[in-house]
Amino acid sequence: MKLARLGLAAVLVALSCAVARADTALLNVSYDPTREFYRDFNAAFAQAWKAESGETVQVRMSHGGSGRQSRSVIDGLEADVVTLALGYDIDAIADIRGALPADWQTRLPNESSPYTSTIVFLVRKGNPKAIRDWGDLAKPGIGVVTPNPKTSGGARWNFLAAWAWAEDAFGRDEAKVRAYMTALFKNVPVLDTGARGSTTTFVKRGIGDVLLAWENEAHLALRELGPDAFEIVAPSMSILAQPPVAVVDANVDKHGTRKAAQAYLDFLYAPEGQRLAARHYYRPIHPEHAAKDDVARFPELRLVTLKDRFGDWRATQKRFFDDGGIFDQIFATR
């Protein structure tokens, strides 16, 4: 019985290995809203890599809430590269599993973020509730849709952007900032676990008056689900969201894929990668490589950075989002 089951497991492993036929196979573990971008990017990279090295490379994708994806890599998902929503989720892979060095974020330019984004508002056409800025979100009778900061990377950026605005608006009086955040979260009717879930709730289910979303997610939703039904509102200020990328050292060494994995990430910084990022509504760090029309879609916004306002991700996570942190306190008094 036991033997038969072991034999069965062996057959299954063989089966699952036989599927990958390419010379090199890379696994990119990413977060929710990057699906469309990496589909195009992987095809472009495969072509470039074939020309450069003569090798066929096949890139496999896994998408999900950033926290959950990080968790899977810690538990043994064999990612060659991770491209997640925020630094903390890669910090955790370094800290808990030790699969890459703690200073991974210094290994690539711009704190390992080849593209950036920010948080904007998606409202219903004509903006019937006249939502213009962060202050409007806390008014009574406004339904605000955001995912759960505990599980979603985008939601953590949402939270920090609102917090940063409130700090400026209330002269850094933390009691007032907390009161504002509490009022804002009183207006949240649904907490989905990921950014995509929230978009669906807002767009398809008709819940709420405003969706706090990644800029790229808002544009994509607008294009895919109804330019005539929604519009994007850029608030007076927002946060510079930096989704970082990294090679997972322990896994590439095991698979012998370090060269290809490194080239994959470098290609994100190359002109072609930058152009594709802009086309998929990410703000490229080298806008000169992107199409003019694509770059023109990004409004000028005052953006605060995590580093200037909150410090590093480890400290920010602990202060705001860990068990018993500020988010829990705010939600408890809601």
Partner: protein
């Protein structure tokens, strides 16, 4: 130790059958499940208690068990009604309805969740009708009950049907000759006979509902302290790299579920003895 049980065995195959049962059960269920207490007890007792007594945990557990109990109760009534209609009446499409009863077993829970959310959302087919009445189902605890009623619907029907089918006409006739009205005969004669089956179906629907995840998360709204079910809280704790807390909540769920099931099984055994006596 089992081989020396009290009664002499005429039928062969005890060792083989019990061997397979215990080996498989241990490998697939017991050994993996042992990981839950193992991980939970790695936590210091006061930290474990802090996790269990956290208002959010208490609320999630109460919500999961409360909605599952409510849905199982709805299904006990609805299931008995459906079984009665299917066994007793002849109407066009009876076989079709009978076959459809098993649909919730067959439809993937995630699909059920998506389609229920699409139905009951304020802009959905049913949500649009309910909204003017001030009833919101989607993204409230009521939505959880609806999902669990769907998921648990077949259990009571399928346990009660065969019992009604086998119900001896003479018993009813006797009641009729004694001059009992239909409703009285139903209450005094039929109901006690089908009660064990209803209870068994209730228990299965309850057990299934407590842990249900796929269909619920799409329709619940997932707000902490409002519509966050215990399995979701476990998933969230896991994603926060908090294995210990996840295991503690899982252990609490398992303990309560096991106690409920054991109580229902004991109730059944007591009921059987009472009827036989």
């Amino acid at each position: 130790m089992f081989a020396r049980s009290p009664s002499p065995k005429v039928i062969p195959g005890f060792g083989l059958a019990l061997g397979i049962t215990l080996a498989y059960l241990s490998l697939v269920v017991l050994l993996p499940l042992a990981m839950i207490p193992l991980a939970a007890f790695r936590l210091a007792p006061e930290r474990a208690w802090a996790v269990v007594s956290d208002p959010r945990t208490v609320h999630a557990l109460a919500l999961s068990f409360g909605t599952a109990l409510l849905a199982a109760a709805v299904n006990a009534v609805l299931g008995t009604l459906l079984a009665w209609v299917l066994v007793r009446y002849d109407f066009p499409g009876r076989r079709l309805v009978d076959a459809l009863i098993d649909l919730p077993f067959a439809l993937p829970t995630a699909v059920a969740g998506i389609s229920l959310a699409a139905l009951y959302a304020p802009n959905g087919w049913l949500g649009r009708l309910l909204a003017p009445l001030g009833v919101t189902v989607a993204y409230t605890p009521l939505g959880i009950v609806v999902a669990l009623v769907f998921v648990g619907l077949p259990f009571v029907v399928r346990t009660v049907e065969p019992v009604l089918e086998a119900l001896d006409a003479e018993v009813e006739e006797a009641a009729a000759t004694l001059g009992a009205s239909w409703s009285r005969a139903f209450r005094r004669v039929v109901l006690p006979l089908i009660a064990p089956a209803v209870l068994a179906g209730f228990a299965m629907a309850l057990a299934r509902g407590v842990g249900e995840y796929g269909s619920v998360i799409f329709i619940a709204g997932n707000l902490p302290m409002v519509s966050e079910i215990a399995p979701l809280l476990i998933a969230i704790r896991l994603e926060e790299y908090n294995n210990g807390a996840a295991a503690v909540i899982a252990l609490a769920m398992l303990a309560i579920a096991f106690a409920l099931l054991l109580a229902i099984n004991l109730l059944q055994a007591w009921n059987r003895r009472r009827i036989e006596a």
